[in-house]
Symmetry: C2
Subunit: 482 residues, 2 copies
């Protein structure tokens, strides 16, 4: 290659690609531009930092800048890529110092990630109101939650952190009541975190159930677990507005634009209503886009622009079940696609892999997982005729202490009897069992095939008929009747 491999964004996808590229092509150059100071941070770990279960913010960093350097990667922080010229094969870069430069590339990876959407809620300028989609926000929330005289500045022990923002939040009186707007997994995990910090927590979810992508069976049991732990859960309850000028004072809910609105006084509000892909960099290039406005990619992570790849939260991927392009921003997807693109650019064409939307979440002692097409609507949109069953089965032999009810939902296509998706929820090792279904989905297994799987049995770990097998038996019975 004459020009370097250029990567935009130094988190999971970007650094996975650069690292793999250097291992495969140790004599070639790779430059990673990062517009800020943060690199390689674990977004998924932020609730556990706020909870205090993770002691230091630096624990959430996978790689330090010097470790990146040791891999032979030319990392340039405070360098924002502001434009791409796909014909000239150059990117325009602006530095924090006000310099600008044009960088030619042989191949380009756009790994710009995503950002929190806030819906109608503008958290800017209101103290005590936050989104949770960046390390600086996590550090600020952690500082804000602490009593001013009890805050340990060493918690946010990363040089990249916005120190001024942290100190300002640490100085404010500690909150007592929190509203979390949005009952997705960020909302659920943050509710647990704030209960762990001693707050009175209210969780608001617009639709009827928490964790909509996990389906109703999971939503109900997770809601029960949260309520049991002291969280006040408001399902079917849109929040209308955040109230407060300088500092958050209340959330208004239940008004639906008319009468009947109520105010809940709070001194902390966290908005977690979704994320959107950062695609502005390629605006105007004519690049193909897909669901959610994400950059459309093929099985090798290629965009519609020559030699331009995209990966991570800003990019689509192919769905395991439907075969269609889909946008599901998740951690493994980003790492896996980045690694594959790094290999491809180094000369070893590697597929990024399909995504099944496999996700797991913890809510206090409750664990849940989901994969594939869990909701009937999604299955119908993809041209399937979904049939579903939910069963409750023991997690262990009934006589072995710790056996706990585990709900398994399986969804199959009526004619082909193929598995389309499923969920598992329960307090005893339930989440990780979703990998069995993820593997079965990837292999296009039918329900009769799943029923005959030789799954593990031993009293401390599973009953003779694993909950997944029980669910398969019941769903096969339903399929046979029809």
């Amino acid at each position: 290659m004459s020009d370097p491999f250029v990567v935009v964004g130094a988190d999971a996808a970007g650094l996975s690609a650069a690292s793999k590229f250097r291992r495969e092509a140790p004599d070639s150059e790779v430059i990673v531009f990062e517009k800020g100071r943060w690199i390689s941070y674990a977004y998924c770990g932020m609730p556990y930092f706020i909870e205090g279960r993770v002691e230091r913010m630096s624990d959430l960093l996978s790689l330090s800048p010097s470790e990146v350097d040791e891999r032979g990667i030319d990392l340039r922080r405070d360098h924002e890529v502001v434009a791409v010229d796909p014909d000239a094969k150059t990117v325009a870069v602006e530095t924090a110092d006000g310099d600008s430069l044009d960088q030619p590339y042989d191949a380009l990876l756009v790994a710009t990630g995503g950002r929190a959407t806030t819906g109608p809620f503008d958290v800017r300028g209101i103290d005590g109101a936050f989104t949770l989609h960046h390390m600086d926000a996590a550090a600020a929330i952690d500082a804000y939650v602490a009593e001013p005289d009890a805050y340990d500045p060493a918690r946010a022990d990363v040089s990249a952190v916005d120190r001024e923002r942290v100190e300002r939040n640490a100085a404010m009186p500690a909150p007592e009541t929190a509203a979390i707007v949005g009952g997705g997994y960020v909302g659920v995990e943050t509710a647990e975190a704030l209960v762990g910090r001693g707050l009175d927590v209210h969780l608001f979810q617009r639709s009827a159930h928490l964790l909509p992508p996990f389906g109703e069976a999971v939503g109900e049991r997770v809601e029960s677990a949260l309520v049991e732990a002291g969280v006040t859960v408001h399902t079917g309850t849109p929040v209308d507005a955040l109230v407060g000028d300088d500092r958050i004072e209340a959330v208004t809910f239940g008004g639906d634009g008319g009468d009947g609105a109520e105010d809940l006084p709070v001194d902390l509000a966290i908005v977690g209503v979704g994320i959107e892909p950062n695609t502005e960099l390629l605006a105007g290039t004519g690049v193909g886009v897909g669901p959610g406005g994400a950059i459309r990619t093929d099985e090798y992570g290629r965009t519609s622009l020559p030699d331009v790849y995209a990966a991570g939260d800003c990019a689509t991927a192919r769905h395991t079940v439907t075969g269609a392009v889909a946008w599901m921003p998740l951690g493994l997807t980003a790492n896996r696609a980045g690694r594959a693109i790094g290999a491809t650019v180094a000369g070893d064409p590697s597929r990024v892999g399909d995504i099944a939307g496999t996700a797991v979440v913890k809510a206090f002692e409750m664990e849940a997982g989901r994969v594939g097409l869990v909701e009937d609507e999604a299955a119908r949109e993809a041209g399937f005729d979904p049939v579903r069953e939910t069963v409750t089965a023991g997690s262990r032999s009934g006589y072995y202490p710790g056996a706990a009810p585990t709900d398994v939902t399986l969804v199959a296509d009526r004619d082909s009897e193929r598995l389309l998706g499923g969920s598992i929820v329960g307090p005893d090792r339930a989440a990780i069992r979703i990998d069995t279904l993820a593997t079965a989905l990837d292999a296009d297994m039918t329900l009769p095939e799943i029923e005959r799987l030789d799954l593990a049995y031993a009293p401390p770990f599973s009953p003779v008929w694993d909950p997944v097998l029980v669910a398969a038996k019941v769903l096969n019975g339903t399929l046979d009747e029809e």
Copy 2:
């Protein structure tokens, strides 16, 4: 059908078949002959009863005789089937009262189970020496281990129990030192049970590693877990003899028939060196037999005799990976085959399913699983060219408390890159992860396909790259080099 469906043996396979048959053909007759008084007991639960973790022996019974009766099954205990005439389609039955009768059948299921082998060790007539392969043995061991004045007769609260044997063992002085002969899963589980009862426990294993079918990586970590918990583990150490006339006094080991033998004084010895299938009933009928001398069956559980089926610990099944007949007596195999045969005899032909040898075991806080062809020798015998890697990876994100080293071994065929088998061991939810590999094996997945699986990630449950994916990456790297 003119004559009934006759089942020999009232445990997992037999009662699963009879129950399924009655549900599918509620107007047809099924007779289950059981030579003794015990029915439907959980063999796998016996170590946990001895440990005291399970309070009552009755907890280990899945079905009572009256529940069997409610299902419309004609259960006849104390009825031993002593001969089969496959031409006349009758069985000869002798009752405990000395009566005898001939019973015609339309279809016959032989579900006679297995029994403990003792190798050169005759435990009969020696107090304090036991095998662990029947409920009466479990009740006797439990009584023997207790201090005479502390034994609670309600522990063995099942009418079928050999009360006289229990009382005799309860009256003996409690043992202090136990030798377990055989480091398979029965030996490992029993070691944990006896430590739980306060004994000084020695575990003897003839070969170099515990749990041979689980492979070396598992054997080593399980051995460490046992040692850490206070068990003295003697690997590579065959026991030569049990010493004692009326009561066990010692085990002799390390002599290998020559000098250098040592005596370990013990007052309890449990022999767990394997099981063998109960096939005597069909001796002389010319029935086909398979590995281990088990009754050979086809994909519907049919033997070579017309209308005679076999299932459970006395029967073979088809191996998922090799396609050959195999004998692996395990709980799910018995239940699943019984259920399928019940459906088939009722008129709905159902395959019994292949077996992958999926097994999991607990040793104190350590958990392990295995599936498929784990040992190179087994893979080569089946015509494969095995390549293997063992990796150690975290069970959770490194920053999340409770993350623990998890060893995954994967074995693949060099040319086809197909998965042949694997094992997983670690203290944090390791065992149940084997189901991912069991599912991948069943689907004939290759290592590149496994590396691209969309497995679950969330900090409390798995790192971004699940240990299975890490192992697949490493093994793919090895396969690519060659």
